[in-house]
């Protein structure tokens, strides 16, 4: 065992303690976490810088009055957009404070009514920075003809004007025009807005066991994909490292030196264990970055602890499956390009869960999902997708069966891989075919 650990430590050290790995697998996720936790809130904070200066407006008086009132009100101009977000976001203290930041400190501007005849002069003032903005509302916009009310109102701003403030002015003046139209027709705008406000829809799934669970689009579509991708990235990255280090050891002839000190099984075990550490780091770093994102957007409720436990179990299964395949292929060839011809067909099989993602997440309990979740080596990827996508609990027997079949397959694959490895590591020259690999399993 101690020799296996010596091999494992070297494998881990020479993969994980390199600049390339530190940048790709540690610095990048840390930057992502930093982006979510620190930079994004700061950027949102920066967006709330108050708009100052004089804004000239060429519009009917009632539009100007309406605009004056709206631009100085404390109402968030993004209120309409926020209304469309799910409750889980809008009711979270952190998220709602970030979303509502756009509505504060917007009142430090002076409105100046202007005449259309001075348009060119006003434009020059905007260019010079003497005016913060110029708004032109054509009378036709307030008419009754559909063709007219679809005319454009203009917001003229200097080239350096903040996009956020542009949105603020545009939204405020557009809503003011609508309110004036309603007022001219004798309606109360606020009452009319209330009337046309769409009621919030609460989709609730009624489970057979009598339970009720709120439906959530984000949870149903994005989270399962994220879980499966996490499994993919973590296992395939380290699997790829395992492939290349094995080929490297064969290529630079160090394999024979190693085999004079350890048995092929000790070597294989050490390499797989070492890369397991690498894979775990990838999982923790990228998983951590994803969790940081969920915390930032107050969506942490979408990932129950049980899903994380399943992730660990299926990650273990996926890693050992992929690692044994990669080690076997790496031992059988002497150059990376030879490995592609052997890995290609395996990748086609393993890519099935990714290709079937829309079907599997839409019908997590359908026949395709159920059958593929008992089919090695698809089990871990399909099961984690099903568990996180399903709106109803996956039957316990299915989870247990997938675990039993999956881990039995892991043992079988490691056994087969070890037999290929034992023969492959000493082979040189032409890469073997699939049939030869099967023969090696029989001979090994």
């Amino acid at each position: 065992m101690s020799k296996t650990l010596v091999v494992a430590w070297r494998e881990f050290r020479h993969t994980a303690m390199t600049k390339a790995f530190l940048i790709g697998a540690i610095v990048m996720p840390l930057l992502m976490m930093g982006l979510f936790i620190v930079v994004m809130p700061l950027m949102m904070e920066a967006n709330s810088t108050p708009m100052t200066g004089t804004v000239a407006i060429i519009a009917p008086t009632d539009v100007i009055e309406e605009f004056q009132e709206r631009i100085h009100s404390k109402e968030n101009p993004n209120a309409e957009l926020i209304e469309q977000l799910p409750d889980i976001v809008t009711q979270d203290p952190l998220a709602s404070s970030m979303l509502n930041q756009g509505g504060s400190n917007t009142t430090n501007i002076v409105l100046q009514q202007a005449d259309i005849e001075d348009l060119e002069e006003l434009k020059n003032k905007v260019r010079d920075g003497a005016l913060a903005a110029l708004i032109v509302v054509p009378d036709s916009l307030l008419g009754n003809q559909t063709s007219e009310i679809n005319d454009q109102l203009e917001v003229l701003i200097p080239s350096s004007f903040s996009p956020n403030h542009t949105d603020l002015l545009s939204l405020a003046v557009a809503r003011s025009v609508v309110d004036v139209r309603l007022r001219r027709l004798g309606h109360d705008p606020s009452a009319m807005h209330d009337m046309v406000k769409r009621p919030r829809v609460a989709a609730t799934r009624l489970a057979l066991d009598g339970g009720e669970k709120a439906d959530n689009e984000v949870a149903r579509r994005i989270i399962p994909m994220a879980f499966m991708m996490l499994l993919w990235i973590a296992t395939f990255t380290s699997g790829n490292y395992l492939l290349t280090t094995t080929i490297e050891e064969k290529g630079n002839k160090v394999m024979e030196v190693l085999l004079s000190a350890v048995s092929p099984l000790q070597l294989l075990g050490g390499k797989i264990l070492g890369q397991a550490g690498v894979s775990l780091i990838m999982l923790l770093m990228y998983g951590g970055a994803a969790m940081a994102g969920l915390v930032t957007f107050a969506l942490l409720d979408l990932v129950p602890v049980s899903h994380l436990l399943y992730l660990v179990a299926y990650f273990t299964m996926a890693y050992f499956m992929i690692a044994s395949i990669m080690a076997a292929v790496g031992s059988a060839v002497t150059e990376l390009r030879d490995a592609q011809s052997l890995i290609g067909p395996i990748m086609i099989i393993l890519i099935i869960p990714l290709a079937l993602w829309p079907v599997l997440s839409e019908h997590p309990n359908g026949i395709v999902a159920t059958v593929s979740s008992f089919t090695p080596p698809l089990i871990p990827f399909v099961m984690i997708l099903r568990i996180t996508a399903s709106t109803e609990t996956i039957a316990a027997w299915q989870i247990i069966m997938s675990m039993v079949i999956g881990f039995a397959a892991v043992l079988g694959m490691i056994w087969g891989c070890a037999r290929i490895f034992r023969i492959g590591v000493l082979m040189q020259g032409k890469p073997p075919s699939f049939l030869q690999l099967l023969r090696w399993i029989r001979q090994g």
Partner: protein, 316 residues
């Protein structure tokens, strides 16, 4: 004398190819044994079985009184195909191999510095292996093979690719290790090299042992068939000597070589030569390993095969 390596009736095939056939070997403790044969004779296969890298199809392999697998940590091995982690530092590489052989890091660190001095590579401990010249890399690989102070050292072509200076350094260390009582199995197809340093020879051809014994016993087994003559008159004519013929292209100016015909008494020919011309010196030359080997091949596989081997050996 007890045997460090005992191989009994070992055979090994790869598919249709029989690499080793019913091989019996005994290597006594403390010997410096040359394991010889042309390329493809089965040397590396036999060594790999000794290292339990591959396993025999039949027969038994005992190393240091136990199975080859159990003796692994007590054997040092320098394979013919040199292997090194190019990106690793010299110290790290040697320490890694030493740890795999069961030696603690603290002990290894001290030994590595001492040995780097001994192989005339001081101060390269923290250099990457890829930064070293080929000769330096070979010395590092040699170091990795002996850093755990093994009882049996197997060196497969240890001098190949080394310049004369480095070859002398490694040769000196091999000699020291032998003097310390370690058993050394030295595999090569450069027979004169083995002839110079080995006290025992095992020769195999086509997977079978053809010779086994001490250097002197092997040489004495073979009837000397060459006479070396140093004539006073460099232009003397010896073509009329019955029972012997001049070996062409061997006249190096100061001496001549004559090959005796089969079944001819050497002393009779010597007498005839001395009667024909005055000589400064005349002797019956002991056969070289090359000659012994060629004769063995001729005996087993015919003269055509022997000629091919002679041609092969002349290119080494």
């Amino acid at each position: 004398m007890t045997a460090v390596v005992e191989i009994r009736g070992v055979s090994k095939s790869f598919g249709e190819t029989k690499a080793v056939i019913d091989l019996d070997l005994n290597i006594p403790t403390g010997s410096l044994c040359g394991f010889l044969g042309p390329n493809g004779a089965g040397k590396s296969t036999t060594i790999r079985m000794l290292m339990s890298i591959i396993h025999a199809d039949s027969g038994s392999v005992q190393v240091l009184g136990t199975s080859a697998l159990k003796a692994k940590d007590r054997i040092g091995y320098l394979p013919e195909e040199r292997g090194i982690y190019r990106k690793m530092k010299v110290g790290g590489f040697v320490e890694y191999i030493g740890k795999l052989k069961g030696v603690r890091s603290s002990i290894l660190r001290k030994r590595i510095d001492q040995w780097l001095e001994r192989v005339e590579l001081p101060g390269i401990r923290n250099r990457r292996c890829e930064e070293l010249s080929k000769g330096m890399q070979q010395k590092v690989q040699f170091l990795a093979a002996i850093i755990h102070e093994p009882e049996l050292i197997i060196l497969d072509e240890p001098f190949s690719g080394l310049d004369p200076v480095n070859a002398r350094v490694i040769g000196g260390i091999i000699d020291e290790l032998h003097q310390e009582g370690r058993t050394i199995l030295f595999s090569t197809h450069v027979l004169p090299q083995a002839e110079r340093i080995c006290d025992r020879i095992i020769m195999i051809d086509e997977g079978k042992k053809v010779l086994d014994g001490t250097m002197s016993s092997i040489q004495s087994q073979f009837d000397p068939r060459v006479i070396r003559i140093e004539p006073i008159d460099k232009n003397c004519d010896l073509s009329n000597i019955d029972g012997a013929s001049l070996i062409e292209n061997t006249n190096k100016g100061d001496h001549l070589l004559m090959r005796l015909d089969d079944q001819i008494d050497a002393t009779e020919v010597l007498r005839k030569i001395v009667q024909s011309t005055s000589v400064l010196g005349i002797e019956i030359v002991k056969p070289t390993l090359d000659e012994i080997f060629i004769e063995q091949v001729a005996r087993r596989r015919g003269t055509e095969a022997a000629d091919r081997v002679r041609e092969e050996l002349s290119h080494v």
